[in-house]
Symmetry: C2
Subunit: 249 residues, 2 copies
């Protein structure tokens, strides 16, 4: 079976931005620089930020991208967001609240155009909520539904779900679900689904038809049949690009 993602897509999907011992996004600098290559300016979507101070979020990213010599243009400042997307050398979607990110793009009627431009080849870099958004739905986010998402459907750039900030930690005495229990609940309702758990310092790199785990840690694959499988760094994960039948109850 041939991979069914669009053959020209380029994606870098990261669990997290901050990392112990590094400046913000510093842990990912080499990976991002390699991914962005000759890109000189990125279009930044800051809508996951709960605070409406998008300028501050844009400045923070500009500071982090300055050492790579890459400029940042916030989508919130664009008079014509559609043509800004069309012209963008690369698109960056920052973390925050996934429900809010999805809702704001939905209300602005930007979800479908964004998906289209990335499928046509505009490189897409997202972390946390930005990684969730790249999936068929946002159903495997950890975020609190502080606003109505307006529907779970997302950019559908990859045919699997991502759970960012994956952790095995469970505080003693805590009786809420563990992360792996939550993912198994998802799979109970979506028995043909596949969820990739990205620990802090983990990410996925898609270049055309090649999918690789990047960062410092293995990626975890959760399915209904095989609860969890560790996928090694630099392992070819292209088998995950085949589309399973999706069910959205």
């Amino acid at each position: 079976m041939m991979p069914e993602t669009e053959p020209s897509m380029r994606l870098l999907l990261l669990s997290n931005s901050g990392q112990e011992g590094f400046s913000w996004l510093g842990f990912w600098e080499k990976t991002m620089a390699g991914f962005l290559g000759a890109v000189r300016e990125v279009l930044f979507i800051p809508f996951a930020a709960p605070s409406p101070d998008y300028d501050a979020y844009e400045k923070k990213l500009a500071m982090a991208f300055a050492p790579m010599g890459i400029l940042v243009q916030g989508l919130h400042r664009c008079q014509q967001p559609l043509s800004a997307m069309e012209r963008a050398e690369a698109i960056v979607v920052g973390g925050g609240n996934t429900h809010l990110l999805r809702r704001r793009l939905h209300d602005a009627k930007l979800l479908e155009p964004l998906s289209m431009y990335v499928k046509q080849g505009t490189p897409y870099l997202g972390w946390s909520a930005g990684a969730n958004l790249a999936c068929p739905t946002i159903a495997t986010t950890n975020d609190m539904p502080i606003v109505d998402h307006g529907g779970l459907e997302a950019l559908d750039l990859v045919p699997f779900q991502i759970n960012p900030h994956y952790t095995d930690a469970h505080p003693p005495g805590h009786r809420g679900e563990t992360r792996s229990e939550r993912i198994q609940e998802y799979l109970t309702l979506h028995p043909r689904g596949r969820v990739l758990g990205l620990r802090e310092g983990s990410g996925l790199l898609l270049q055309k038809t090649t999918l690789l785990a990047v960062g410092q840690k293995e990626v975890l694959l959760f399915t209904r049949k095989t609860p969890v499988t560790g996928l090694l760094l630099q392992e070819n994960l292209s088998f995950l690009l085949e589309k399973p039948v999706r069910l959205l109850p």
Copy 2:
């Protein structure tokens, strides 16, 4: 200002069912027995369970309620759910996934009738997802959106939000939001909102116009102006029954 909840309501809203060193629901047995009083049978809503085996969930509750001499009738087995609700001596809503619980009640057109019967005086006992459901919206659940909730609006029995399984724990190296950060994000978008964080072993008891914290631990009140206040056990919390202006972006 007078309390604005319905004057005949009786609610017991608990953070959790299981508790270290107790049988399932055993920690709450005395509190539940006192709350249910002369009730001989409860109507149980098991729809938060991701597994469709509602019979198993019903049996589990029947075992837990047997020592109190209280029978359990699962709503999933009722041919006429509306009249079952109308006739119920008390209604119990179990934990699981809040998005799923809300969606299933919404699809069955049972949310409004349920709210109505409880406002008219049918005692309501809920834990975890069942406590979230009693609030104006389910926007402060911790649960993964494994299905589309179909809207955030919930039973609106109390004029504040609940965050069950509240914890201060944050695994070292983890870069996802802390629980308190998530609640602050909610308050950023809902500046007049009030969120009660219920730690494991915490609950709220509403008897007509009196609201008390019950269980073993203080309840935490989060607002935009005062990030966090501890509310003591047995303290009269009736000031929380006054309705703030609600904003649902």
